[in-house]
Amino acid sequence: MQIMLISDVVYFLSNPINLAFTAVSVIGSIIAAAFLIKMKNLSSNKKIFLAYAHIFLLIFPVIFFVFSMGCTAIYNSCSKLHAIFYIAVLAGIAAFLAGIFVAPFAILRFYSKNSTLITERKISEFADEHSKKMGIKKPEVYLLNSSKPKAFSFRAFGGKIFVSMGMADLLTKKELEAVLLHEMAHLSNKASLFRQLVSITKLISPLTYFATLKKELKKEELAADGFVCRIQRASKYLNSAKGKVNKYNYIASILNPKLS
């Protein structure tokens, strides 16, 4: 069985087009990983893009190989060039879908390495109280060891919220609560999974950047903001938090573009 697999791989790579696809894909994957590891000051969006690019390019040759070896019927019914084209497209789609499922694990692992789970009583009680009211599972709140003010959530894996030290340094208690409530609103909103998929797809394929999708994302942000205002009975804490974060990013971009 192992010998058959090795001979299949050798046969597959003996085709120059297959070899070219595989080599370009593997090299691209290594380059994406190298950028992700070496360039620490990239924005979150760029890091997510590189993580997806790395996974996609790594999986692509494997799926391409599997489809090539399995599609003998296609080889019989149309020219070899047609077959290779369709197999490449199918492999691309499969790698992309696999990436969507695998990448959140990779991204989460990446952020978890630089974070600690907050077990502090007041924050834990806050998350518990509001998650019960919202009818969602109590999310785990992580403290991200980063001076840049940021907060984001992952709906997958039972709900996780990441808040950076930079956020904790800048905001008052009420402002931080507003941010936590905002992220919890995203977790409770069933459209949040769509939001994550859209934002990730948008990074990989610029063609999916339709105005309608942008509207949906904005609607969800406004819904989360509205939720915070209803719970806190005021918009000033959330507005103040956003103002401080925007000011930080603006000043950072002027003083040192690397920090923004």
Partner: protein, 120 residues
């Protein structure tokens, strides 16, 4: 010409706000962002975000170190200077001299020799 060299060649020299922040941290004090901001506010026009950015810059320049402190239900970075004032000034002078020698080579070396022999 001198000012251009100063800005472009010596990035390790501090900006006015960086200098003010470090003056508060020297000698060997540990402070949070908010504490530094509260002390600077009466003396100059400054925003909390600016102080946070400046401390981050100083951390990237390896001038200050930071650790996380948990207190009263919150989390904050505590910043401490890595070197005292004298050590820092020495390192800046060292850096400047090295850059001058790198840029001007033997001209810089002979200037220093001349200058220090004259002082004697």
């Amino acid at each position: 010409m001198g000012k251009r060299i100063y800005r472009n060649r010596f990035p390790s020299v501090l900006s006015p706000l960086e200098a003010d922040v470090l003056k508060l941290l020297w000698p060997d004090r540990s402070m949070k962002v908010k504490q530094i901001y509260d002390q600077l506010k009466p003396k100059r026009k400054v925003a909390l975000s600016s102080v946070a950015v400046i401390l981050d810059r100083l951390h990237d320049k390896n001038v200050v170190e930071r650790k996380i402190e948990t207190a009263r239900g919150g989390f904050r970075y505590i910043y401490t200077p890595k070197k005292d004032k004298k050590e820092f000034e020495k390192s800046v002078v060292d850096d400047v001299v090295n850059q001058l020698i790198e840029k001007f080579g033997s001209s810089a070396v002979s200037y220093f020799n001349e200058r220090f022999s004259r002082k004697r």
